[in-house]
């Protein structure tokens, strides 16, 4: 094991897969000479050359579509979106092309491509640069979606994504790029579609994906001080969704708090809550609690932007509500 940052873990995944397979190419804004806007691709231009690591013009639709076409005839492009906010310009190429090509061609073509970049709120970035857009991708059949919360998962999931024969969207978190964690020294993969039980507990399930998973762990620690034993689930993969691990947790606890840093309506969190409430109905001792961001665009002011997002306080309060414990007002 070594301590690696989330950023360096992603870099290691790219490096290993590029060394392994010359079909892997990297495309995106600033990925080559600038080493990546968030330095995820640092050093790869020098190692693999300008034919495999390509700086693109600022044309998300164009270079995303180019990646799709290259994938249709055998390359395995990794398209970096500087952020998922900008990927909205490329929505058509993901939803109508990458996701549909296998189907519309009756299985004749597949699109082995990875779309990756930071998603979710950062700090002081206001409304256009601080959004959690997971449901845009998780909604669509034909693609897979993963959201690592830890360096080891970032490395292992990205490697699996690159080897996957279908399009995979990787939701990274800008605020986690510098986060360090243990990563195995030997090569490893994390399979797409498996949630992780971060802490086993008896009283309440706390479930999320991506950056808020870290809030779950803090909330679990606070709850432990009050004698509440939380079960913490990191979904890791949103599509496919590991309902087996999820429901096993709810079976242990009978209560669930779902946390999603996106807006409440039509969100992944809302879907997960729905699945627990229906599939897990007989296991539940209380209604499923849901903590999302407030239903407003992100403000610039720091106090306001923090108030918008899920917090440890909100999660602890939701857990107590699910446990019919005292809930603070306000």
């Amino acid at each position: 094991m070594s301590q690696l940052s989330y950023r360096d873990a992603l870099n290691r995944a790219l490096d290993e897969e590029m060394a392994r397979d010359d079909a892997v190419v990297l495309l995106g804004e600033e990925v080559a000479e600038y080493d990546g806007a968030y330095k995820v691709t640092r050093g790869l231009l020098g190692k693999y050359g300008a034919e495999r690591v390509l700086d693109t013009p600022i044309t998300e639709l164009g270079f995303t579509g180019l990646g799709v076409g290259a994938a249709m005839v055998g390359l395995k492009p990794v398209v970096e979106w500087m952020t998922h906010n900008f990927a909205l310009l490329a929505l058509d190429q993901v939803v109508n092309e990458a996701a549909k090509t296998r189907h519309m061609s009756g299985g004749q073509f597949n699109v082995p491509i990875v779309f990756r970049g930071p998603n979710g709120p950062a700090e002081y970035l206001s409304s256009q640069h601080s959004q959690a857009l997971a449901s845009y991708w998780a909604h669509v059949p034909g693609i897979k979606v993963v959201a690592p919360a830890f360096p080891a998962d970032a490395c292992g999931l990205l490697k699996s994504a690159i080897r996957d024969p279908d399009p995979v969207v990787v939701l990274e978190a800008e605020m986690l790029y510098g986060f360090k964690g243990e990563v195995p020294d030997e090569e490893f993969l994390v399979p797409i579609g498996q949630a992780a039980v971060l802490k086993s507990g008896r009283d309440v399930t706390l479930v999320s994906f991506g950056k808020p998973v870290h809030l779950l762990l803090q909330a679990a620690a606070e709850l432990a001080q009050e004698g509440v034993d939380a079960d913490v689930i990191d979904l890791r993969s949103l599509r496919p969704l590991d309902e087996t691990t999820l429901m096993a947790s709810v079976a242990r606890t009978g209560r669930a708090v779902v946390v999603d840093e996106s807006w409440p309506a039509a969100s992944v969190g809302a879907y997960v809550a729905h699945r627990i409430a229906t599939e897990g109905f007989d296991l539940l001792d209380a209604p499923v609690e849901f903590v999302s961001s407030e239903d407003v665009p992100m403000p610039y002011n720091h106090a306001l932007e923090l108030a918008v997002q899920p917090s440890v306080r909100k999660i602890v309060a939701a857990a107590k509500k699910a446990l019919y414990l005292e809930v603070p007002h306000g």
Binding site: G62, M72, D92, M104, S105, G107, F109
Partner: protein, 342 residues
């Protein structure tokens, strides 16, 4: 090939006649409600697909197009049967009844669709060309799109990428003069699309899209340059005889306008050229017409007699390997009769 070569004349004519006969039949079957949805016929534009296809090397080249794709599919050598069966939504269709008219595909014949989003195929085509260059295959990619698509950002972004990365891409704008019901003249800043190439440091060429020999010559020039890393834009000025799709009442243009263009019919122009070159043969022409009729009839019979897709096939062709579905959609379905019409 020498353009005066008799075999070439007859091959071009056979391709164009097959497209014309096939489309007439598709229109007829649509009227009989055997084919549903959007169905965009290619009548009038045959010289573009046939001329470009004759210049391509399908062993290493690829082609992509928009939703008016029956003619390009036939030009790529796809069998009329598999196309007609796809229009019928049958399991024997090239896309297993999942794509329909707008999404014909054939991996073997390097035919990469059939795209229903105006202009979306252009960046995808640039990516195919990127892969050809990366793998040094010597191949080129041809992408067809209409006068409506050329104003999409997708076109402009893709042209820029093609130029900066020296991609072997030939972009063919089939200007049939009507973007659905909107005259191209009302929505274009230029009256010659080939000049748009200049903005991207590329060569552009305007060609008479009703003259298959001129289209072929332009395509040969463009492909040779593309293979050397110089992408080219061709505007093929053409005309569509039918409505935008089968449901178009065509109130935006007069019958006289359509009839005027039919006097410059691409098949008639080619036949005139053949006669001038002393290559005409009535009997051979009649035999070609009959062959096209027969192939089309066979295609209809094949489509009529093919099975509809079984319900369980709706869960196929979404992902590789073991499929997964977000619950609660994963209701197990057995092999029940298909809900598809016909």
């Amino acid at each position: 090939m020498n353009p005066s070569d008799a075999d070439l004349f007859w091959k071009l004519r056979a391709d164009m006649v097959l497209m014309r006969v096939f489309e007439e039949k598709a229109g007829q079957m649509y009227g009989l409600r055997k084919i549903g949805g959007f169905c965009h016929l290619y009548n009038g534009q045959e010289a573009v697909a046939a001329g470009v296809a004759s210049a391509m090397d399908y062993s290493k080249d690829y082609v992509l197009t928009g939703y008016r794709d029956h003619g390009h599919a036939l030009a790529a050598g796809m069998e009329p049967k598999t196309i007609m069966a796809e229009l019928y939504g049958k399991i024997t269709g090239c896309s297993r009844g999942k794509g329909g008219s707008m999404h014909l595909f054939d991996a073997q014949r390097h035919f990469l669709g059939g795209n229903g989003i105006v202009g979306a195929q252009i960046p995808v085509a640039a990516g195919v060309a990127f892969a050809q260059k990366y793998r040094k295959t010597g191949g080129a990619t041809v992408v067809f799109f209409g006068d409506g698509a050329i104003h999409q950002g997708a076109f402009h972004e893709a042209m820029n990428l093609a130029k900066i990365w020296k991609l072997p891409l030939v972009s063919v704008c089939e200007n049939n003069q009507w973007g659905m019901g909107t005259s191209w003249k009302r929505v274009s800043s230029v009256d010659d699309f080939s000049v748009m190439a200049t903005s991207y440091g590329m060569r552009g060429e305007l060609v008479d899209g009703m003259d298959v020999l001129e289209v072929r010559a332009a395509a040969l020039r463009a492909l040779a340059e593309a293979r050397e890393g110089r992408p080219v834009l061709i505007e093929a000025r053409t005309y569509r005889y039918k409505g935008h799709s089968m449901s178009d009442p065509q109130k935006y243009r007069t019958r006289d306008e359509v009839e005027e263009y039919k006097k410059q019919d691409p098949i008639l122009i080619l036949e005139h050229r053949m006669k001038e070159a002393g290559r005409w043969d009535d009997a051979k022409a009649e035999a070609q017409d009959r062959a096209a009729e027969e192939a089309t009839k066979e295609a209809v019979d094949f489509a009529e007699n093919s099975a509809a897709p079984a319900l369980h096939t709706l869960y196929e062709d979404v992902y590789a390997g073991e499929p997964f579905f977000m619950a609660p959609s994963a209701t197990p379905l057995n092999k029940e009769p298909s809900p598809c019409r016909s």
